[in-house]
Symmetry: C2
Subunit: 240 residues, 2 copies
């Protein structure tokens, strides 16, 4: 039997123009930073933007953006609070105070529940901060929201890119649309990742140099927007 919530999800998403899932092969490559900054940037440009943190195992966009003491409103469904000019939802609202975290089955169930009750309204962009690697959330999302486009994040490290290969192969098997790849925390001018991406037929969007200012901007969205890092993300935003 089909879960009746899956058709509700389609209904909820129908007024969203573009759904962009920011994904990576492994954690710690800056995926949440890029999601948050991309959402902020598109919002500053005047677009209606939603940001949804779906990284169940270690949600962090609320720390990056310094979001505290706001909660979604509950009525007919859930209305995401307005934060820094955009609509913001995170799994952290529902897991922060739990002694025991979500298990696999609950993750799938929580994802479907959250997608079906959240009322985004009309949006130009919905940015999804995905869990790293390949897991339930990625598989469910592809099944539930057909028109999701994936933006892949890596670092120059061989380790990070090896895990990207596996992710890209899965996404291609599942016929999802790949926007391209961003190389974050570049330490030098090597073209290695660009070449490797081209081998995978993956568009190389940009390389972002390591930027020590970012750590000092943690929790401060306005400061974050002034970093070199954010200027590079702005370039990506213009390609969305």
């Amino acid at each position: 039997m089909t879960d009746p919530r899956t058709s509700i999800i389609e209904e909820r998403m129908k007024n969203i123009n573009k759904i962009i899932a920011v994904s990576s092969g492994k954690g710690g490559v800056g995926k949440s930073l890029i999601s948050s900054t991309l959402a902020l940037t598109l919002s500053k440009k005047g677009f209606k933007v939603g940001l949804f943190d779906l990284d169940f195992a270690s949600p962090s966009t609320h720390i990056i953006l310094g979001i505290e003491d706001v909660r979604p409103k509950e009525g007919k469904g859930i209305i995401p609070p307005e934060v820094h000019g955009m609509r913001y939802m995170s799994i952290v609202y529902y897991s922060r105070d739990l002694a025991v975290p979500f298990r696999g089955f609950d993750v799938s169930n929580a994802l479907i529940e959250l997608l079906s009750i959240t009322r985004w309204g009309k949006l130009d962009y919905l940015i999804l901060d995905m869990p790293p690697g390949i897991g339930d959330v990625t598989l469910d999302l592809i099944r539930l929201i057909k028109n999701t486009q994936f933006l892949i994040v890596t670092t120059p490290s061989k380790l990070a890119f090896e895990t990207v290969k596996k992710l890209v192969s899965l996404l291609e098997n599942m016929k999802t649309r790949l926007i391209g790849i961003v190389e974050n925390m570049k330490m030098d001018s090597s073209n290695e990742i660009r070449r490797e991406a081209e081998k995978l037929n993956l568009k190389f969007l940009t390389g972002i140099p390591y930027d020590s200012q970012v750590e000092h901007a943690m929790g401060d969205a306005q400061k974050l927007l002034k970093t070199t890092f954010a200027r590079k993300v702005k370039q990506i935003a213009s390609e969305m």
Copy 2:
């Protein structure tokens, strides 16, 4: 009804002196590098060591150690191959060629299956490379192997440490033993993480400076052992 495999797991683990789970609040902090180097170092010291990669979403110790073309032997259970003088098992042996990755329920099931069929034999140390954050594998492992001790890895970043706080609180609620915390990729001499760790009653083991040699040693265990990074890991090994 109890899964009969849980009592088999106890039997399988009874000849292992110390089981050390290397864990982190988020990915990309160097957890797999530290697990791999710790296992190599203990093995070089003459101990009998096993390394088990349990990072289902993005296994990477086989890339770090350059392990290719070896497979566990199947007989009465599974015998891990000898690699670089230690016994090595990874979830990658069972997921590498799958088009569709493990789902939550399968992860739990695969973990129980692998723990119950793997014949480690007599070991001084079994090092477990855990998935980042809080998920099924961590919860199952605590339930299944009572005497597991946790070594926590973080970076100096506020983001990484915030996720550590949540992990440590969970591990303490579940009465697990915490060995201490390692601060990886230190960029300066700040004592911030040491102070924060002490607030959590967590032993600060060492700070490891960022070491650009490590990237060049990727896939080469002997080269890895000669890095400054490895020398710092050796210090931790002497405290195990």
